[in-house]
Amino acid sequence: MWRKWTLAFCACTFAMSAMADEVGHVKVAKGAATVQRSTGKIALVPGMKIFTADVITTGADGAVGITFVDNSLISTGPNSVFVVDQYTFDSTTHVGQFDGTLKKGTLAAISGKMVKQVPESMRIHTPSSIMGVRGTEFLVKVDEASRP
């Protein structure tokens, strides 16, 4: 009985500690801009924290700009969906892994410290491809499939 409770407690605190650290901050939020996470869907405003697994969605007049903890910058334009699949960064060694998916819309990205340390540790996924980032500023656009 005790063991069961202890396990549940450990699992719970582990989940909380895994969730606790923000991976970035919202610096720009225009028009319709929301984040979907396990606790629900909320409107994004500047200053808000971004966590792994966040799904960032913008409407026709929306745009969002995020600064990640390793100084990577990401923005999405109107009618976009961007998912923070994975984000880790060791601020001592600068080793990290950033996987984000642009499901649709447009994205601008400027790579940060982790890519300087390990090229291609930042990857932007699209429905068809993977962009391995070696250190640059770049733009991505994903058109929605036109259905017959």
Binding site: K30, G77, S80, S91, V115, M131, L139, K141, A145
Partner: protein
């Protein structure tokens, strides 16, 4: 047109037709699911970086790979194709991406501060620089800071990791003392991993005993 037709039917008929529609949609989804999902066109463009150095982006799809490493190098990935090169003028790029680029956060501003040797007081020059840091923080709407301490090439790795973190923590104290909320400041100790001035092991170098502040 459709709405008028529905209005004329009874409620149960509407429910039936909706149910039929749902089944049709589900069947359609099931029939499509095992095959590849429908894809739209995709576009990747590299911008001229401010640092002057473009490391580039590697675009990979299945076995095909294309390196984009020049300003305005671009690739289009058609729904059923490999990444192909495409030539875009800066004006065309602007037309497609201007709203997106406009939403990029301000670039992090980096400041370098130095401590007096063996003390936790800043040098006179760094005290002036601290005023610049505070001004930069004021300029930003929702500022957050990454404070990274560095050590020189003297002593063990473990010692330098500790020392560099202590320098960063001291800097955080100085900043909170000037009214910056502690939760806006992250600290890190980078030890001797990122020497500003490259030296051999055991060489004391004051320019390496620094704290770097990213205001963003």
């Amino acid at each position: 047109m459709k709405r008028r037709v529905l209005k004329m039917r009874s409620v149960s008929a509407v429910q039936n037709s909706l149910g039929g529609l749902l089944v049709a949609v589900l069947l359609g989804a099931c029939a499509q699911a095992p095959s590849r999902p429908a894809l739209g066109d995709e576009l990747v463009v590299v911008l001229p970086g401010t640092g002057g150095k473009v490391g580039g982006v590697v675009v990979r799809r299945n076995d095909a790979e294309r390196l984009l490493d020049a300003p305005f190098a671009a690739s289009r990935i058609a729904a059923e194709g490999k990444p192909e090169p495409v030539i875009l003028t800066p004006e065309q790029v602007h037309d497609i991406f201007s709203a997106t680029v406009a939403a990029l956060p301000g670039r992090p501003a980096t400041f370098m501060l130095y401590f007096l040797e063996g003390k936790d007081e800043l040098t006179a020059a760094s005290n002036t620089e601290l005023a610049n840091v505070l001004a930069e923080i004021k300029r930003r709407p929702e500022p957050d800071l990454l404070v990274t301490g560095h050590a020189d090439n003297v002593g063990s790795d473990a010692f330098n990791d500790k020392l560099s973190l202590a320098r960063a923590e001291r800097m955080r104290e100085l900043l909170t003392g000037r009214g910056i909320a502690a939760e806006r400041i992250q600290v890190a100790g980078r030890g001797r991993r990122e020497l500003l001035v490259s030296t051999g092991r055991g060489v004391a170098e004051e320019r390496n005993r620094r704290v770097e502040i990213s205001v963003r």
